[in-house]
């Protein structure tokens, strides 16, 4: 039986109680949807765990949309965000909509936004899409609240920049300025597997030229989700013509350090990252039309 050493299963009703529990015990694990934690447990990685702190009674599951963008609580499920994004039906949210289509129904109904970020798993899809949208997270600790641009949360393979006792309470996705469209692409063997490579792009155009570009890659192209400054530099100022998209695809190779694992070798990831980037850019460009 797994979690055989679990002694305490807390279900606090207020953020302050969570922070108190986390500051008392830096071995305690925060539980939201539980899909990542159950995955770790099933692999025998949590056998020593003694304390779980379930945060789904905190009321952090709301999502608000206004002219500034989307504000979501940490325990909002992927399904809830998907409904909100679908209702917006906006080109600038195209990448997030694509990414939210990837996880199966059962995961979307359970997994939370805060959980999928805190896991800092480079193979997840939603974090890559959120990086491309310049998402910021809100973190609460005993010293108060701080905000962090998303890429800075990801510290390494399954490692994040949260200090002991800190909790992600929400995230904000700023409304893209100007005429902007996004797209997301994933290479995976089937629906319910981790990505071999995933790519999220966000393109903004002004007067026929690309005025801003973001290219984010995940799925084991590095220890964390990464951006490709080289690809972004090629796209920015370009006409987003086929040559520019192809050149940007080639350029991502210099900004990634792919992992080798049971799914794919580093060389394979490097090769398909270029193709996936070009194809994802093509989808975003089509959405700008």
């Amino acid at each position: 039986m797994a979690l055989q050493n679990l002694k305490d299963f807390h279900r606090p009703g207020a953020v302050e109680e969570v922070l108190a529990l986390l500051s008392e015990n830096d071995e305690a694990l925060v539980l939201a949807g539980g899909t990542f934690i159950r995955g770790l447990e099933a692999r025998g990685l949590l056998n020593g765990l003694e304390t779980l702190v379930d945060i789904r009674r905190l009321g952090l599951d709301t999502i608000r949309v206004d002219a500034d963008g989307i504000e979501a609580g940490a325990t909002a499920t992927l399904a809830k965000l998907q409904r909100v994004v679908a209702a917006q039906n906006a080109a600038w949210l195209g990448g997030l909509a694509d990414a939210l289509d990837c996880p199966p129904l059962q995961i979307r109904n359970t997994a939370t936004l805060g959980g999928c970020l805190a896991a800092s798993c480079p193979f997840f899809d939603i974090p890559t899409a959120l990086v491309a949208l310049d998402t910021e997270i809100t973190i609460r600790g005993s010293d108060g609240e701080r905000r962090l641009p998303l890429p800075e949360l990801f510290f390494g393979l399954f490692a994040n920049a949260l200090e002991p006792g800190e909790l992600i309470t929400g995230l904000s996705i700023p409304h893209a300025a100007g005429h902007s469209a996004g797209a997301f692409g994933k290479l995976g063997a089937h629906a319910n597997v981790l990505a071999i490579v995933n790519v999220a792009v966000q393109l903004t155009v002004d007067g026929g030229l690309c005025s801003a570009a973001c290219v984010a890659l995940g799925g084991g192209v590095a220890d964390t989700v990464v951006r490709s400054p080289a690809a972004e530099a090629i796209l920015t100022g370009s006409k987003l013509d086929p040559a520019a998209l192809a050149a940007a695809g080639e350029a991502v190779a210099g900004d990634i350090q792919p992992l080798s694992d049971h799914q794919a070798s580093a060389e394979y990831r490097r090769a398909v990252a270029k193709v996936m980037t070009r194809r994802t850019l093509e989808r975003a460009v089509a959405r700008l039309a």
Partner: protein, 153 residues
């Protein structure tokens, strides 16, 4: 030390003493004797443990039971009403969408949410709706056909 939770399962209220590390799947199968949800991969990869929590399909193997105190659960056993099979059940039988049967209950619960939200899905939507459920026997063609048939009933 066990803790008490209340669950409404297939319309019936239960007060249950559960282990802190117990999954919803374990409670349903081992404490309530409901064998519709199956223990397959036990880590959210195969879908045969799928049940509904408040109308939403979830992998019951990924849910800690203590987190679901007060929830309303529906398993495949709750699909039939007064002995009358649910259209999905009838269609799975008529389409021959069952071979070993291990995936069937989970497959129907995933399909049920699809049909609840999208009563007339096309093949692409059906395949997307059951993408979190694996079948190792049928090759999915007859399962897709069964869901399509159920949507037309």
């Amino acid at each position: 030390m066990k803790q008490m939770i209340s669950l409404e399962v297939n319309g019936e209220a239960h007060e249950l003493a559960v282990e802190k590390n117990a999954t919803l799947l374990r409670v349903l199968r081992d404490q309530l004797g409901l064998n519709g949800p199956k223990r397959g991969c036990d880590s959210g990869g195969c879908g045969c443990c799928t049940v509904h929590v408040d109308g939403q399909a979830v992998y019951s193997c990924m849910c800690y039971a203590l987190s679901y105190d007060g929830a309303s659960i529906t398993t495949a056993e709750g699909l039939a009403v007064d002995g009358e099979l649910h259209p999905l059940q009838t269609s799975f039988i008529e389409a021959g969408a069952v071979q070993c049967g291990y995936c069937t209950c989970g497959m129907m619960m995933a399909a049920k949410q699809l049909l609840d939200e999208c009563p007339r899905p096309d093949e692409e939507q059906i395949r997307q709706g059951i993408s979190g459920n694996l079948c190792r026997c049928t090759g999915y063609a007859k399962i897709v056909e069964a869901v399509k048939m159920a949507s037309e009933r």
